[in-house]
Symmetry: C2
Subunit: 211 residues, 2 copies
DNA sequence: GTCTATACGCTGATAGAC
DNA sequence: GTCTATCAGCGTATAGAC
């Protein structure tokens, strides 16, 4: 297996090396705790080139941001092109997010677990980006088709994806030891069938007006 | 109404002024975009005193962090002392979180919407703090009592609170225009009764193993 | 115990050689 | 087009006066 030797230098383009290094550093230390010099060392690309190509640290973060959003959008697009119900599409997206959380942890961490507004104040929040809007649209179509219960778009969308996103956060924060892929089936059941136990207590539910 | 005039200086203690100013600044600009000088100006407390009392910017952030966690813990404690089912307790906590998101936005934002690990790397993540563990325990007791469906603790807890937390995030990011308190009833129904529509499609649910 | 003025280090950014 | 050496500015932290 001669190709496994380190003698052959990686043909990876400069951009890719910088973005990969930046992703790892930003996720591990946080954007503000990483200097351009750190990116330089990690990527083995000189500071001058980084400024030439990206215009600075913010430029790197922005390029990374849109690169990952595009990848995510392609993922959602692939799900849209598959022949299945909207309900199944929701499940598929959750399954893919869980898989990515395990296999490409940093990508998910940068997309779902960072506060971009702090270092990219001029960019819109990630939840208003195309792939997230597409996810909401899938939900809306599911409602129209009668596959998903009716309700205000945001409430329904948050109820469907909120639990999964919460699990991802807990997993990334190290509170959940088990791979999320193991929890998928159970989570999906909880989400679609509701959290009620044996005892029916609907009439006693707490209302916001009560004290 | 003589007390409404500005002539009478606020008797607020120094600590309180600093923490209030820091909360507002941190939430608006992010921890790393706020200098100690900014806190000084906003709180009208001198830099020397800030360093004397808190030991620096990190100290302020840490004090604020634990102060808010304590407040939150008291809130959860109050819910625990009330006579109601664990299921109602979950609802009550969500109702309170929604109310706080509207009336004390910055507190919720700092607790649920910041990445503390970036500026307080030695502190445990917020979801492992006492009040969050208490919330999970309420869920566990609800499962034992048969009020809540059985399952792995984290999955069940994430399914119950994940949607609410997601709504809070969306509201704080400006995507939801309506006050969350208006969405409470609908969200609670979604969460307990599940997201299934009219058509029963359980058999076709997507499994993680499938492709 | 409270404040002002100052120093030091780090980081983002650039200019100019190759 | 790529890199190295250097600069300027900001932000933390402190020392010392009141």
């Amino acid at each position: 297996m001669p190709y496994l030797t380190k003698s052959a230098p990686e043909p990876e383009p400069l951009d890719c090396r910088v973005l990969t290094a930046a992703l790892d550093l930003f996720v591990e230390h946080g954007f503000h705790n990483v200097s351009v010099h750190d990116v330089q060392k990690e990527s083995s690309v000189s500071i001058g080139s980084i400024y030439k190509h990206f215009g600075g640290k913010e430029g790197v973060a922005k390029a990374l941001y849109y690169h990952l959003i595009n990848e995510f959008e392609e993922m959602v697009n692939a799900v849209l092109e598959d022949e299945m119900t909207n309900r199944e599409r929701c499940n598929k997206i959750i399954a893919l997010l869980f898989e990515y959380s395990e296999t490409r942890r940093n990508i998910i961490s940068y997309m779902l677990h960072s506060k971009h507004r702090e270092f990219l104040p001029s960019e819109p929040p990630i939840c208003s980006s195309t792939p997230f809007i597409m996810m909401r649209d899938i939900v809306l179509q599911g409602i129209e088709a009668g596959e998903i219960r009716n309700g205000s778009p945001w409430v329904v969308a948050a109820s469907i994806f909120g639990g999964a996103i919460r699990l991802i956060h807990l997993r990334l924060d190290g509170l959940i030891d088990e791979p999320l892929t193991n929890l998928y089936d159970e989570h999906i059941n909880c989400m679609w069938q509701g959290m009620s136990g044996d005892i029916s207590l609907e009439s006693k539910d707490y209302k916001s007006s009560t004290n």
